[in-house]
């Protein structure tokens, strides 16, 4: 999908470091991507690839010792990564909403969901408590909570997991943000409920024109929901492209391995294909391409020089195979 003239969110050369006593760990290293208004960008990768940290860094909630050590984040062309805390707080919830992995622990157990929703609405929008409550009921109806007018006065523990995630989505949509960062929104849910939540999220965002950064390790969810997909490996972006192209014609050997390891129903195999080895620890990322020790197509340059994202067919991949002067480029 062609990106709109002006992206809603631009992340440029983002670098996140953790200053620990035993040295500095680089969790995110030179990551750049953009999200157009109304677009759904899926971010995939193994655990520890830096997907969630990227999201946390964008909304300015990195906890010390983590910090943004380089690069910039732009929302609507305005730099937001260096804003004062109070300015950034006003953006959170108002411009960028967030949904976290576990709906069971995302809600404060001591307050009714109504109180939590109206509190958020009144923080961001000029409404009195009666207007906020009306809006809260409307939001709860929109996310499919039956008998919202009555349920609004219930406490989180009186809702099931799926219902709570709907409440969390309502909370994220409270002030009609233009971007939602959804961090593994379905991972903690029953499989039967996952599809409902994803469908809901997708419908609401397209109705409201909200862009979504969907962080997940579930390729099924990405395939169904995202317009474009970004693949992360060891804190770096390895491939970005339209979702169909990346799934059906991955250009980076890591993406290819990732796609190859998804079992298909009806296909009989003795062993599930897998990528040999495991992702390097953040303190021992190899020189050159981070994937080179596991890569089946590795060659000399991969061990020496780090590749940037480069045009590779219909996608962009950080792989030397796609450099025209590569010895294997036309092999």
């Amino acid at each position: 999908m062609a990106s709109a003239p002006r992206p809603l969110l631009e992340v440029r050369h983002l670098r996140v470091e953790f200053n620990l006593r035993r040295g500095t760990l680089t969790a995110i290293d030179d990551v750049s991507f953009e999200i157009a208004p109304g677009e759904v960008l899926g971010v995939v990768g193994e655990s520890g690839a830096g997907k969630s940290i990227t999201g946390t860094a964008i909304i300015g909630l990195l906890e010390p010792p983590g910090r943004i050590a380089g690069g910039e984040v732009l929302l609507d062309g305005r730099r937001i990564d260096n804003l004062p805390a109070e300015e950034m707080r006003k953006i959170r919830g108002r411009q960028i909403g967030a949904i976290f992995q576990d709906p069971l622990t995302s809600l404060n157990p001591l307050y009714t969901i109504g109180r939590q929703i109206t509190e958020t609405i009144m923080t961001h929008l000029p409404m009195d408590s009666r207007q906020a409550r009306e809006r809260a009921v409307a939001l709860l109806e929109e996310v499919g909570i039956p008998a919202a007018g009555r349920r609004i006065d219930h406490y989180p523990h009186q809702f099931s997991g799926g219902m709570r995630q709907r409440v969390v989505i309502a909370l994220a949509l409270c002030a009609s943000p233009r971007l939602i960062i959804a961090d593994e929104p379905t991972t903690a849910l029953d499989v039967s409920v996952q599809a409902q939540i994803i469908t809901l999220l997708k419908r609401l965002c397209s109705e409201h024109g909200t862009a979504v950064m969907l962080v997940t390790h579930d390729m099924g969810v990405i395939a169904e929901t995202a317009d474009r997909v970004a693949v992360m490996y060891a804190g770096r972006l390895v491939e970005v492209g339209p979702v169909q192209e990346v799934i059906h014609g991955p250009q980076h050997p890591y993406t290819a391995g990732l796609m190859g390891s998804i079992p298909a129903i009806g296909q009989e195999v003795d062993r599930l294909p897998q990528i040999e080895g495991s992702m390097p620890r953040l303190d021992s990322i190899p020189k050159g391409c981070a994937f080179n020790p596991r890569c089946p197509k590795v060659f000399g340059r991969c061990r020496e020089e780090r590749p940037d994202l480069m045009d590779a067919g219909a996608t962009r991949a950080a792989c030397w195979l796609h450099r025209v002067d590569s010895p294997l480029a036309h092999a």
Binding site: I59, L61, R89, K90, I91, R92, G93, R94, G97, A98, F100, D102, T105, S106, L107, N108, P109, L110, Y111, T112, E119, T120, T123, H124, P146, R151, H154, Y155, H157, Q158, F159, S160, G162, M163, V168, L171, A172, C174, A175, V193
Partner: protein, 328 residues
Amino acid sequence: MIAFVVRRLLQGVFVMLVVGFIAFSLFNFVGDPVSLMLPPEATQADRQEMRVSLGLDKPFHVQFATFVANATQGNFGISLRLGRPVSTLLVERLPATLELAIAAAVLGLFVGIPLGVFTALKRDSWTSRAILTTSLIGVSLPNFLIGIFLILIFAVWLGVLPSFGRGDTVMVGPWSTGLLTTSGLRALILPSVTLAFFPLTLVMRLVRSEMLEVLRTDYIKFARARGLTDNAVNFGHALKNTLVPVITITGLQLGGIIAFAIITETVFQWPGMGLLFIQAVQFADIPVMAAYLCLIGLIFVVINLVVDILYYVVDPRLRLDRGGAGGH
């Protein structure tokens, strides 16, 4: 909720019966009360007459029932040492102890909670570390030593506060209060600070560790992600979640403060129940000791009941009788 309170009340009655039984058996531990009360030259007939008039010829369970019946009406007999009804003595002394204990508890909570929140939010600041180090003194120094130090500094060296007694008191109905006179308030400062030291540090450390725990939870992170202000997150969302354990400890501490006021009251010659009790022990004044035991037992039972009810108020998850969980 009602059923819960009724159940707790019944349990409380049972606890009080046990406490009463222990208090009652005190009388039998110190030997035959008749020989204590009559002069050595009394005749066997005198003894028998006394025994009947005191009801001591009746079987054990009847005697205990009589004791319980009297105790529920506040009748604990006559003090052997002072020759006055025990209930009158306790009613005279109760206000002093309660005022001291409540002043100490208020001090402990209203200084302990803010300090706990502060040291949790500014975890790495120099001030927090200084406060935490100082608080070790409160945990580790015995109460009477702190009292003596305070007397030394503020009464002896600086001479700004009285070192003993309760100052002038005013009668408000049957209640003698020191809170309405300047000298009464001045006299309250040192003993209440002494008594507050331990619960204050305990509450502070508890609030701090609970806050640190709660600040790490997902719902706090989510509250920040929703753009709520720091005050709303820290005080509206985080602090309230630390309250359940704080209520528990505060309740237990309040009982402890009243019971352990004995030591502070002795150091400051505070005319409260603790001082009365210590003197009763020295003179083997059994009725006073029994009554004190029952009263402290009652205070603990009431505090525990209040604490349990407060749980319900704070934590909706405990209110099982309100609305069921919804389906998917």
